[in-house]
């Protein structure tokens, strides 16, 4: 009985955390219509064609065999009578969907957006199962599937590597809303990059540490599982996640290269992996000469000015949403950024302690990359959402290395934890409210009641205010369960 009760409490706590997380993310999934993710038309078209040629969904053009035609409703520029009629005008609600062209699902047109051959990934193949003529219903199913994928990945991490899961949990509490939580549920390949890469990296990291200590095959299996998740994240969006996967692999090597029990074979293998990762990074970035060339001053409109402006904007996006969120036209209130900075700052300051110099240096490099990459543009776009996953990895690394590699949360004062939960919970609530507002009435309508004068909502399911209330409460509950201390029995 004595051992059963704490186990039962832990089980109830874990189940509550899972349900609360699911509700919090589902609220974000319901907060906008299908196609609201950045470049939603392109990503929906990729998913529609992810399952190959299918009648009525993705067909070969009769004019050009290399072209693909998809339902006209998926095209961004199909005019005011398409499923993306709301994009580009934050004042316009998604109410325009009610006036949609009756034949928009049956008329097949060229996307003019898909490259050939198609970038077919496991993500797009899997999500294509949910694609149908009913674009709205398909979009919702895809989001729910993404939430399930994220919950499974995080659940595996929580079960197999609780300490790492705790560090990632704290990072997600302070950095999760609004950008991370929006993308996890989005019909967008970054969903899998966000949910699978940090979880995969941490599973591989924890599994490797346990394997080094025990040499048990099951921990090698955990490493393989982590590697598989990282590969899925890479495969979902290879054009920029290669860099983040490379960084995660390097971090693995750095964190374990100095472990006391490393034998020569492991050291050689780690060095080989690190060398391969460095070589790949070198090949893709262009080496020091390319970096120097990019950093050279080019007058008033030069690189340094752009570095300062773009990097600052991208870092702001990480906590405040803004340009990174939704269809690039969601007006997020300033308070979200302020609360986000408070949560981030307090969590980092309170968790700080016992971090080795090597870890500080690594963390500094990661922060440098987060600031530098959006400026560099190219394959990494100038927006916080492109580097959000790197920021999440950097922050998780920080929390892992704090308190001498222990669980950072354990060392945080109770007051600081409460501030973190309150600030992050409020930031999520404000951001979710603004996001629902943008699509229900348009951002130009001011007011707390999202139900009033609604012009768009899902045909069935909870009302906008219900979604907001439950989503906000669930996020705060999940944050509380992750960050606030467990009550010890008297």
């Amino acid at each position: 009985m004595t051992s059963l009760t704490p186990r039962l409490v832990r089980g109830v706590r874990a189940a509550t955390l899972t349900v609360a997380t699911a509700i919090a993310v589902m609220a974000w999934a319901l907060s906008s219509p299908a196609g609201s993710a950045p470049d939603g038309d392109y990503h929906l078209a990729t998913i529609w064609c992810g399952g190959g040629i299918r009648e009525g969904l993705c067909e070969t053009s009769s004019v050009n065999a290399r072209e693909r035609v998809i339902p006209r409703g998926l095209l961004r520029y199909s005019g005011p009578l398409g499923h993306l009629c709301f994009v580009g005008n934050p004042g316009a609600s998604a109410g325009c969907l009610r006036d949609i062209d009756p034949v928009i699902a049956t008329t097949m047109e060229s996307t003019e957006r898909l490259s050939y051959p198609l970038e077919v990934s496991v993500f797009s193949r899997f999500m294509s199962f949910f694609a149908s003529r009913d674009i709205e219903a398909s979009g919702l199913k895809i989001r729910l599937a993404n939430i399930a994928v994220a919950l499974v990945a995080l659940g595996l991490l929580g079960l197999l590597a609780p300490a790492a899961g705790s560090a990632l949990g704290l990072a997600l509490v302070v950095l999760g809303a609004p950008v991370g939580i929006f993308f996890v549920a989005a019909a967008h390949p970054q969903s899998w990059v966000y949910s699978l890469l940090p979880a995969g990296w941490l599973l591989a990291d924890a599994g490797f540490a346990r394997w080094l200590a025990t040499r048990l095959p099951r921990w090698a299996g955990v490493v393989a599982l982590g590697g598989a998740l990282m590969w899925l994240a890479y495969d979902a969006r290879p054009r920029d996640s290669w860099l983040f996967v490379g960084v995660a692999v390097l971090l693995l090597a750095v964190r374990h290269a100095t472990a006391a029990r490393l034998d020569r074979r492991v050291r050689v293998a780690l060095a080989a992996v690190a060398l391969l990762a460095v070589a790949e990074l070198q090949r893709r970035i262009g080496g020091p000469r390319g970096v120097v060339a990019q950093f050279s001053l080019q007058g008033a409109d030069g690189a340094w000015a752009r570095l300062i402006v773009d990097a600052a904007g991208a870092v702001r996006d990480l906590v405040a949403g803004g340009n990174a969120l939704g269809s690039s036209d969601v007006v997020v209130p300033t308070i979200v950024g302020i609360l986000g900075v408070v949560a981030l700052g307090v969590a980092m300051a309170a968790a700080h302690g016992g971090m080795a110099r090597r870890a500080w240096a690594t963390f500094g490099l990661l922060v440098g990359l987060v600031a530098y990459l959006p400026w560099r543009a190219g394959d990494i776009g100038v927006s916080g959402r492109y580097v959000w996953v790197l920021a999440a990895i950097a922050l998780t690394y920080y929390f892992l290395e704090c308190r001498a590699g222990g669980v950072a949360i354990a060392g945080m004062p109770r007051g600081a934890r409460r501030v973190v939960v309150a600030a992050a919970g409020l930031a999520n609530a404000f951001a979710l409210h603004a996001h629902i507002r943008r699509y229900v009435t348009g951002s130009d309508v001011v007011g707390w009641n999202l139900n009033r004068d609604a012009e768009w909502w899902w045909p069935s399911g909870p009302a906008p205010m219900t979604t907001w209330l439950l989503g906000s409460a669930a996020f705060a509950l999940a944050a509380g369960l992750l960050v606030l201390p467990e009550r010890r029995p008297a």
């Binding site: 009756p102 699902a105 139900n451 768009w456 009302a463």
Partner: protein
């Protein structure tokens, strides 16, 4: 004075830990109650702008109606049957030739609804929408190619009776056999040749579509009829027999 105060405060101070212990569950219960109250109020006050105005996301052509129905039906062994429904603003019935009338439905909705004939458990039947795409005749023509309606289809015409150019407010229902649909009179009109159903043709299956409880009427011989707010329900069709 101070010792008196101290003595008086002692029981209060003793109760503080208990109060503190109770504060957290009390706050949790209060928060849950407020949340439940907010949710109930939100659900009661919300009027969904999409009610009765569903996004026309599922406009299907006949060639893939079968795929749609089969995808939704779940059990491939079960017959996938749909009831085709046309709605229009008004309709006229005029004698065409012997025991045959011309039915013209005007102000036609831009789609034909295909309603799952299976009785839904929750009372809300699954529906598919067939885009006319400017050519409703093609839709009907495709259906006729299946051979099912070669001798015409049984149907129920329901509408509000109009007499002397004014509505009577009386809802009426005429069991018909609809044949030879034509669609060359405009985007929002459809033209059928129809005849009344013989009593033995008014089977239980076709009468089951009359969920409004209206008495079946017979078109007056050589008579003309004008109806408003019209619905034409066509007998269940097995979509697996559709072409394509």
């Amino acid at each position: 004075m101070i010792p008196v105060l101290r003595r008086a405060a002692r029981p209060v101070a003793g109760a503080l830990p208990a109060l503190r212990r109770a504060a957290r569950p009390a706050a949790a219960v209060l928060a849950a109650a407020l949340l439940a109250l907010g949710v109930v109020r939100s659900e009661r006050t919300f009027t969904n702008p999409m009610d009765g105005d569903a996004i026309p996301v599922g406009y299907w052509t006949v060639r893939d109606l079968r795929l749609a129905v089969e995808a939704h039906a779940g059990d491939p062994a079960e017959p996938a049957r749909v009831v085709l429904v046309e709605t229009g603003q008004n309709a006229s019935l005029d004698p065409r030739y012997e025991y045959a009338w011309q039915l013209v439905i005007r102000g036609l909705a831009p789609y034909t609804t295909a309603r799952d004939a299976a009785d839904p458990a929750d009372g809300a039947a699954t529906e598919w929408y067939l885009a006319h795409a400017g050519d409703l005749f093609t839709v009907w023509d495709d259906v006729f190619k299946s051979g099912l309606y070669a001798q015409g289809a049984k149907a129920l015409l329901i509408g509000t009776l109009v007499a002397g150019g004014a509505t009577t407010g009386e809802r009426v229902m005429y069991p018909l056999n609809v044949i030879s649909p034509d669609y060359d009179t405009g985007d929002t009109e459809i033209d059928y040749t129809v005849r009344p159903l013989y009593p033995e043709e008014y089977t239980a299956e076709i009468s089951s579509l009359n969920t409004f409880g209206l008495e079946p009427r017979t078109i007056p011989f050589d008579g003309r009829l004008r109806l408003e707010d019209v619905t034409l329900l066509v007998e269940p069709l097995d979509v697996r027999t559709l072409p394509g």
